[in-house]
């Protein structure tokens, strides 16, 4: 009896809680709740799919689903009307593979007794069980900036080592919604070796990939036996094998980052040997493998960028030798060829998409325009931004075009999207409308100069990696402004064994966007000065690490924490 009374009381409390919750929601103290989820963009020019002519009409959508489009739709009473006169509507862009909004999980601390020749998978960057969903945040500038560029869906790749985890397909809608379209969409993979342990190099990574794959196959065979036969010893699937199972069973593809033609060949060679499903991403230099991509039927996502023209622009016209002139010509030729690659993919009939990894939102549409100037058709460019990635990601039923029943993802611009002066006025993602202020041209110019002269911010903790012929190494750089100069420390792999040592940095100078500094390494009775020079853009830095006599090695760094108070 008593118990029942208690139960009734609990129920009452629950109901009360529920009611009060509803009451809260109704008053909406945030003020952000939208009045309606039904919208109509009227009298706009609609480009429903790549290659289609623009048609004047209205697009009507509710709860993130397109209800209809055309010139004589009757609009429901609750529809909020967005006047679309003189505006152009395109399907929302889809990022085939990105890392926007992804925060790298903190590196595990190396155990003191770590055996570097056979480290635990998690420390060696083999974490196929991880999900990008856990590393993704829709709030923050990165997603905002890409959405502003027109992107409404992204497949985010997790950050980590050679097998960092599984990707997730996200819609870039409201921050309050669950935005996962598909979790565990693909297993991310790359040729990145592990720092100071096995597998340290490309060669080790390829061997380790085979090892992990083959042992997952065997572990699954074992499990099958266990399920059907008595007296079989208990299978012990490791987290790695459980994470790899869906790949081995060919339920999901491996999305391999392969920037060069050689990397493309290596990934396809592994695929042919082991038989998994493959998507290639991050392609930069691929002219010589277009036939291979075609014949192997591998879906590809190319980097949404064009090569840096710094080298081209720095070429001098006077006071140079004939030899230098000839070398200039070859760089120019390589540059021109690089810009034409996308058009060659189109000519070969390969339906490629784009990847936003390592690219800047502000340069994205400029890059597309450059590709179009170099032979890519507007139709193929739009397909690469919409229908192609939708098919590659397996979401073409719900995304990629403007059609009744598909997701309400649109880019709405002031002009044809590929025109230089076109500005994006609204982006609709998952039926949520994001409005952007149009810039006047003069204002745009003013802002440009302002940005150019503004000093970059270098203060904070940077995580760096440098690529050397024997693998990657790295650590942390922490930098603080002191008076007119900068001070700080850098950590690096200990010369006399394992672990890290920290050294003070000296001669730190920031000039324009470039940070340079030096530090001393004592090794084997010698003192060596290592100089680092990097160009900063936002929270990332690219440059070189060089040691006198030894040469220089590429270095990249990310600002992991802009504050030094830890």
């Amino acid at each position: 009896m008593k118990k029942q009374f208690l139960k009734a009381g609990m129920l009452g409390l629950l109901i009360a809680g529920f009611l009060s919750h509803t009451a809260w929601a109704q008053s909406d103290p945030t003020g952000k709740r939208r009045v309606t989820s039904t919208y109509a963009i009227t009298n706009a020019t609609i480009f429903a799919a790549p290659g289609q002519q623009g048609t004047k009409g209205t697009v009507l959508f509710r709860d993130g689903v397109i209800l209809g489009m055309g010139s004589n739709l009757s609009l429901p009473k609750d529809a909020q009307v967005i006047p679309g006169d003189s505006l152009f509507i395109y399907p929302g862009f889809i990022d085939g593979a990105g890392n926007m909004g992804i925060t790298k999980p903190k590196d595990l601390e190396r155990p003191k007794d770590l055996i570097t020749s056979n480290p635990p998978d998690e420390i060696a960057g083999i974490t196929p069980w991880r999900s990008a969903t856990e590393q993704f945040s829709i709030t923050g500038n990165q997603v905002d900036d890409w959405r502003k560029t027109g992107f409404t869906v992204t497949q985010v790749l997790p950050d980590g080592g050679m097998l960092p985890g599984k990707s997730s397909i996200m819609v870039l809608g409201n921050s309050g919604s669950v935005n996962v379209l598909q979790e565990n969409a693909a297993l991310a993979a790359n040729f990145r070796g592990s720092r100071g342990m096995y597998p340290a190099t490309l060669a080790g990574v390829m061997a380790k990939f085979r090892d992990v794959y083959q042992n997952t196959t065997l572990a699954l065979d074992h499990s099958k036996m266990y399920a059907s036969t008595a007296g079989v010893k208990r299978p012990e699937l490791t987290p790695t094998q459980m994470g790899m199972a869906s790949v081995v069973q060919k339920q999901i593809p491996v999305i391999f980052t392969a920037s060069s033609d050689l990397e493309v060949r290596r990934a396809i060679a592994l695929q042919k040997e082991l038989g998994f499903k493959l998507i290639l991403t991050g392609l930069e230099n691929y002219e010589s493998v277009i036939d291979l991509i075609k014949t192997s039927g591998t879906p590809v996502l190319i980097k949404l960028q064009v090569p840096d023209d710094k080298a081209i622009k720095s070429q001098k016209s006077e006071g140079i030798t004939e030899d230098t002139k000839a070398q200039y010509e070859r760089v120019k030729e390589a540059y021109d060829k690089a810009l034409k690659q996308a058009s060659l993919l189109e000519k070969a009939g390969i339906p490629f998409g784009f990847s936003t990894v390592d690219t800047k939102p502000g340069d994205a549409m400029k890059a597309v325009q450059t590709l179009i100037k170099n032979g890519l058709s507007e139709k193929a460019a739009l397909a690469a931004l919409t229908t192609n990635p939708a098919s590659i990601l397996g979401i073409n039923r719900v995304a990629g075009t403007i059609e009744k029943g598909k997701m309400a993802n649109f880019v709405i611009s002031t002009d044809s999207i590929f025109k230089e002066d076109a500005q994006i006025k609204h982006v609709v993602a998952d039926g949520y409308v994001f409005n952007y202020e149009l810039k006047k041209k003069a204002a745009k110019e003013a802002e440009k100069t302002e940005n150019g002269s503004a000093a970059v911010s270098v203060e904070g903790i940077w995580e760096y990696t440098s690529e050397t012929p024997a693998g990657s190494s790295g650590g942390e750089i922490s930098i603080k402004k002191e008076g007119t100069g900068y001070s700080g420390t850098i950590s690096y792999d200990d010369p006399s064994g394992s672990g890290k040592v920290t050294a003070p940095i000296k001669n730190a100078v920031v000039s324009g966007k470039t940070l340079t500094f030096e530090f001393d390494v004592a090794a084997g009775g010698m003192n060596l000065t290592v100089s680092i020079s990097g160009e900063i853009s936002g929270s990332s830095m690219e440059g070189t690490m060089s040691v006198a006599q030894f040469g220089s090695f590429p270095l990249t760094a990310k600002l992991s924490s802009p504050s030094l108070t830890l």
Binding site: A203, G204, M206, R210, R266, V331, G471, D493, G497
Partner: protein, 462 residues
């Protein structure tokens, strides 16, 4: 039944051919040269006819079939393409230095056909190089035998697909420094190196047995034997024990050379070649008796403690003791003039022309297991040929043309200044300075430094 078998074999053969990248094969008639066959003496005013990449005829007054180009080599010398049994040219990675045994690692995975070193080697008459894993580990990775088909974009096209598998071993200071001193694990000493080898092979025997047990059991009804863990590392060691792979072992001191011979005997390993082998002259009879010989430097030593006891007579002593002996480069620079290196065996040891030339042709071919295909000018062999101005063992020798499978990849007359296959679109063009110092001298003082960074800045190749 017999017919069916033949048909089947033909089909298999066909399938095999298709699985290889189709490599270019050329036809050419080289006229009026002094032909240095290496195996069949020197022929004056002789012609070599090549068709579809194969040497079809060697003799006088040969006529070119229609469509076959004739090259007049009057006053010039023709020799077999030079073979370098120890090289690291055209590899994107050399050392997976992170474990004492990394036999699962394949150099074929990391071949880079764009590396300019290939063209430079061709300009020195080298048509085949043995692209080896580095010497950081007791048992390193599996090597790749490369044919220098310059201009190929697919790594598979420069890999000599019909060459047998080989693997890199290393004894002495390098593996003990990287793993023992650098990482605090076995091997810290030469005794540790032997222990790593013996433990490795014993594990491989157990591995092989475990798989045999499983494979026998799995077809039986009600089987409860589960599959063993897959390990390409141990499988590769088992393949060595089964004679499927030729071991090429980096070594310097006589004691460690003799140690490996004993280990090989104990485990029944017969395909064994020593690399560097600076103290080989001390154990030349043992090397001759039990192994496929030694591949040595002509006169390069004293770049670290274990390489002080050396002599330029090493190659000649090994040769005259009946060991198969080759001269290698292990260097992107030396590879350009291996014919000079071979000639040094005449100055130090008085070897004959044929013996000296065999050091860079037939003998390395034997050590790589490809002497039935290349290494001499004989009818039926692959047409890897070099035309020299001057006798190749003369100080004034200059390679004029280099052919691989009858295709000309180097011609001194059409040698462009910039032969690069690949140029980066964002490359800064900067002035080039020639260093006054040799690379290996540089390395001497920085051993500790690069060891500290575990090879992060430097890779020790020798």
């Amino acid at each position: 039944m017999k017919k069916l078998n033949i048909l089947f074999a033909a089909l298999l053969g066909l399938g095999l051919n298709y699985s290889y990248a189709q490599t270019p094969k050329g036809s050419v008639l080289i006229k009026n040269a002094t032909v240095l066959t290496v195996t069949k003496g020197n022929l004056q005013n002789a012609d070599v006819l090549v068709q579809d990449g194969i040497i079809k005829q060697v003799g006088q007054n040969l006529t070119a079939p229609s469509g076959v180009q004739t090259i007049d080599a009057t006053g010039k010398y023709v020799m077999p393409g030079i073979i370098d049994a120890h090289s690291h040219v055209a590899l994107d990675v050399i050392n997976e230095a992170s474990a004492p045994i990394t036999s699962e690692v394949r150099m074929k995975d990391v071949v880079n056909p764009f590396e300019i070193g290939i063209y430079r080697a061709l300009a020195g008459g080298v048509t085949i190089s043995h692209a080896m894993h580095g010497s950081a580990n007791v048992i390193g990775g599996q090597n790749a035998t490369l044919k220098h088909r310059w201009g190929a974009k697919d790594p598979a096209e420069i890999i000599m697909q019909d060459a047998p598998r080989t693997i890199k071993f290393a004894l002495g200071e390098n593996p003990t420094r990287v793993h023992g001193r650098g990482n605090g694990i076995q091997p810290r000493t030469r005794m540790g190196v032997e222990a790593v080898l013996r433990n490795g092979f014993n594990e491989a025997l157990q591995y092989k047995k475990a798989w045999e047990t499983y494979n026998t059991a799995k077809t039986q009804k009600g089987n409860t034997v589960t599959p063993p863990v897959y390990s390409e590392r141990l499988q590769t060691l088992a393949d060595i024990l089964d004679g499927k792979i030729i071991v090429h072992c980096h070594s310097y001191r006589a004691d460690e050379i003799y140690m490996l011979i004993n280990v090989a005997k104990d485990f029944g390993i017969k395909k064994l070649v020593f690399q560097h082998t600076n103290e080989g002259f001390k154990v030349a009879p043992e090397i001759a008796e039990y192994t496929m010989g030694a591949s040595v430097f002509a006169d390069w030593w004293a770049y670290k403690m274990e390489v002080y006891y050396s002599t330029a007579y090493n190659a000649a002593i090994l040769q005259r003791n009946g060991a198969i002996t080759s001269i290698n480069s292990d260097s992107a620079e030396l590879i350009r003039h291996l014919y000079h290196e071979a000639a040094k065996t005449q100055r130090y040891g008085g070897l004959t022309d044929d013996e000296a030339l065999a050091m860079i042709t037939l003998n390395p071919a034997k050590q790589l297991g490809i002497d039935d295909k290349v290494g001499s000018i004989e009818v039926g062999k692959q047409a890897d040929l070099v035309i020299f101005e001057g006798h190749p063992l003369s100080s004034y020798a200059v390679p004029q043309m280099t052919f691989v499978d009858g295709v000309k990849y180097f011609d001194i007359k059409t040698d462009k200044d910039d032969q690069r296959q690949y140029v980066s679109a964002s490359e800064m063009v900067e002035p080039i300075f020639l260093h006054g110092e040799e690379n290996h001298q540089c390395l001497q003082d920085v051993d500790a430094y690069f060891e500290a960074f575990q090879g992060a800045f430097f890779e020790h190749k020798h």
